[in-house]
Symmetry: C2
Subunit: 218 residues, 2 copies
DNA sequence: GATTGTGAATTATTTCACAGCT
DNA sequence: AGCTGTGAAATAATTCACAATC
């Protein structure tokens, strides 16, 4: 089994989305070229990405759409649901709580916590917000597997440390700050400020007449 | 002027945040090593990143914090405010409207649009939501420079096309789909589903005993 | 003595190109 | 004939290592 880069994993998600669409349209086979075109990649890249996990295509024909969807779903661990908890029920947290797509895609938010007394006890989208102090116990008892951290920058690292100590091994962080996690814990960041700044750079660099990469990391 | 990769630009944002913090604490000089440690990079990388834009350090001493902050702010185009509009006032869009940090960081959302009749006319966080049909004209008249697209996947490309035709050259897309923009238009994506799937992959791969990159793209 | 700036070396990622199936 | 799977080649990103400078 080869080592797999983060960009490869990101592309697999994209491929899966496209394959699922086509599958529901009744398409049965798809070539690496077609898939690449839709995904904004090259045919060779599609094949290399897949080749890290096995050989799924039929030479001369392409890939069986339904089968490959299944394989990708399995590789990405999307055949099951993951129990997700939310820490921090501010504006972003609340919006995520209401975002039904997460549930549909296999990431139901089953618990939510906040340090703000006035928020505790409120029920939102089927989840009752509980006190921050109850977090550790609940994460363990409810077998939470992924935690979404949407707390202010100042407390983000501290909250992550507590989450990690509770045995959670996957964290999605929305706080715009560098978070440290021990090896064996997966961390992903969503940093909107960073993306806006990259746009600001592109606009400024453009005006200065410098060429820049119009980034398309999906 | 060397070409600058997207990851370099992302790191510049991180450096700037750290430098600003230290600056407010009264720190005057900082070495590439210190900065790297805080940023989760290497000293050489910090120096390489900066060297693409000029030479700002003093050998034997490090970098003057205040000066370098200023330089980075200038490089990233953060010395000015950018006029931002929001298209799509659903859960995510509304949350972004209320997110005061954007305003504070120089990205005030000055206009918002939605196709939903019932939302039009509502005032939220100082911005009145207007009809989708008014978008093109408003983007031009109000000299909007960055548009945040938070509409459903099905209409995202279409909305982006309209935005681009209105002369906007920077787009932050929240719809989890591949968006095409012409050269000269900067596009950044925030795709929470993708990040969750990467976490799912990491958890699954971990269980399978495969090593994986616990990605820390900030 | 410490730290920068930067070519050279290394490592990672992407693309090429073609033998091998269907 | 068409398309995959994959080594080899090309390109990109990162790290090394050291002369230059403060």
């Amino acid at each position: 089994m080869k080592k797999v880069s983060e960009s490869t994993v990101a592309r697999l998600s994209v491929y899966l989305r496209l394959l699922s669409e086509r599958e529901s349209e009744g398409v049965e086979m798809m070539s690496s070229g077609e898939l690449a075109k839709l995904a904004g990649a090259t045919a060779a890249q599609v094949r290399k990405d897949l080749s890290a996990f096995g050989t799924f295509g039929k030479r001369g024909l392409g890939y069986p759409v339904a089968e490959l969807s299944g394989v990708l779903r399995s590789i990405l661990g999307l055949e099951r649901h993951w129990r997700v908890a939310l820490v921090g029920a501010g504006r972003i947290g609340m919006a995520l709580l209401g975002y039904q797509d997460f549930r549909r895609q296999g990431f139901p938010i089953v618990s939510a916590f906040d340090a703000d007394r006035t928020k505790v006890g409120q029920r939102r989208h089927g989840v009752t917000i509980r006190a921050d102090a109850e977090m550790e116990r609940a994460l363990v008892e409810e077998a939470i597997e992924i935690v979404i951290v949407a707390v202010p920058v100042e407390v983000a690292q501290e909250v992550v440390d507590r989450v990690v100590r509770s045995g959670v091994r996957a964290i999605l962080n929305f706080a715009p700050t560098k978070i440290e996690v021990p090896a064996g814990v997966a961390l992903k960041n969503v940093n909107m400020a960073l993306e806006l700044e990259a746009l600001s750079y592109a606009l400024s660099a453009g005006r200065r007449g410098r060429r820049w990469a119009a980034g398309a990391r999906a």
